[in-house]
């Protein structure tokens, strides 16, 4: 799957992942109305609304981008019905040829991480049959519990040709509280990065490992150091756009080969129609606004490669 991701990034010349993080406030009125008319103002109605919203965005952008990243919390807030919409979104995105990065940030002790890995990337045994509960291509995971919280995910990913992005340095303002603490003169996120590089060796693709890292666009200087510690690990970079990360700051996240990073934009794409710049599209044509925002992001990202 990492080989496929790299290939698609090259083909499309777009190291871009669209974050499908739908809030109900983002969903245009006509979609909400149709969903509520059919299912009422219920959790099922909310699930239907965010699924239809996602479908519109996927349909209008799938030929431009290699991957989408649904953030499961945005679905989980609507309970089981929201998670059914998450599942539908992942399935549909895959049917359109997109790589699906499940932004689930799970992580627990060994046996529990195994269950999460099976649930999101593998197959669960039920009597004589096997099923996929959820089915993403990549998962984000949290490293706080150390190796035995991570290795069960890698085991399942190896069997399934799937991959991970492990949190190293997150994009949020307070990420430094624990992640930047110095351990023998070195910040904790570097220790985590060294582990990611090591874990990654056990599940290599052609040029890059199936095991990647998450490093926020909001911390470009750290990105530069982390790029060197993890030369073979793809970096998933959130924080571009709405969170404040600029294209000019993204250069350090890429390798000399122009690869090695994939930049996420969520609100900036899926909620483009609410921005002044794209308001001409109107609420009804929100998906066209998203397409234009992807094209503009692609153009903007070229600044990352100007030497």
């Amino acid at each position: 799957m990492i080989n496929e991701l790299v290939k698609k990034i090259k083909q499309l010349d777009a190291p871009i992942v669209v974050g499908l993080d739908p809030m109900l406030d983002y969903v245009p009125e006509q979609i909400k109305k149709a969903a509520f008319d059919e299912f009422g103002e219920t959790l099922k109605g909310a699930g239907e609304a965010i699924w239809q919203y996602n479908k519109g965005i996927i349909d209008s952008t799938y030929d431009l981008i290699p991957a989408v990243k649904p953030q499961i919390a945005m679905y989980e807030q609507f309970g089981v019905e929201g998670l059914a919409a998450f599942n539908k979104t992942c399935e549909y995105a895959k049917s359109k040829g997109l790589v699906v990065i499940g932004d689930i940030k799970r992580g627990d002790i060994g046996s529990t991480s195994s269950a999460y890995a099976v649930g999101h990337a593998g197959q669960v045994q039920v009597g004589s049959k096997k099923y996929r509960g959820f089915d993403e291509d990549f998962l984000t995971v949290n490293p706080y519990l150390g190796s035995d919280g991570i290795l069960p995910f890698i085991d399942v990913c190896r069997e399934e040709n799937k991959g991970l992005f492990i949190l190293v340095k997150t994009s949020n303002p307070s990420s430094g509280e624990f992640q930047d603490q110095l351990v023998d003169g070195k910040p904790l996120y570097e220790l985590v990065a060294e582990k990611v590089a090591m874990w990654g060796e056990s599940h290599m693709g052609e040029d890059y490992s199936y095991i990647g890292a998450v490093v926020g666009a909001t911390y470009p200087k750290m990105g530069e150091i982390l790029r060197k510690i993890m030369p073979k690990n793809f970096i998933l970079v959130p924080g571009y756009g709405a969170q404040g990360g600029k294209a000019e700051d993204l250069a350090p996240f890429f390798n000399e080969d122009g690869l090695g990073a994939i930049i996420n934009s969520s609100r900036g794409i899926i909620c483009a129609y609410k921005q002044d710049q794209y308001s001409k599209f109107g609420e009804e044509n929100y998906a066209d606004a998203s397409r234009q925002a992807v094209l503009d992001m692609k153009e903007d990202l070229k600044k990352a490669f100007v030497k």
Copy 2:
């Protein structure tokens, strides 16, 4: 809710939480057969089996224990149908007067943590209505992202009179890889504990804070130090029993008032019928075996209070 938890622990003289972490292998044949007869060997059948299994354990133990702790990964592995069983389990446990600790170990950047908090402890707005997607009394959360990953959970808990247990020092063998790293001579888990104590001040109950910590029974020396750093914070202690933690080692987790800790046992209780000690009950009477295991655990825990 923390006041209620403390009251129930005192009333029952049982600082015990039963971990409802069902693997399908644990579920007695008669329950699996009934579920598969009704729904087939499907995810729905698996969900039904684990729900019925849980119901049996709750029915046979609810008068002895203050709380249950369903581990969501064990449900999530069966996809949406598994999560429906999680929801049913939480609802039923509450209807029997039990406090429900949702072991979800979520944690993300601010807006995303908000969505998780709303989904598991609060109410989500759908048009003019409000719903609870999931509905636990306490949640476990992961601190790796720092304050802005935690505070949205605390905000929702304050509104809802609910609480948290924040991962400080986990019970697994490799928890030290990052958690034990020394920062200015002090292990990282102590820094996290200091934050938990601070965060806890903003949401106090009568004697204890609504904001607690997770510290593994497998690390009693660290438990002793952490107890002092967080005098007003309840400690949820996993790792007793199957993971190797002994009752004698639990003394440091409690305060002078005999309170301040709640000890989790999962397999040791829910899968008691598979142990030699309880095999006389037989598979059909698995719930009676679980009841006896709770009674024995209660007795065993007295060793923690022998000076």
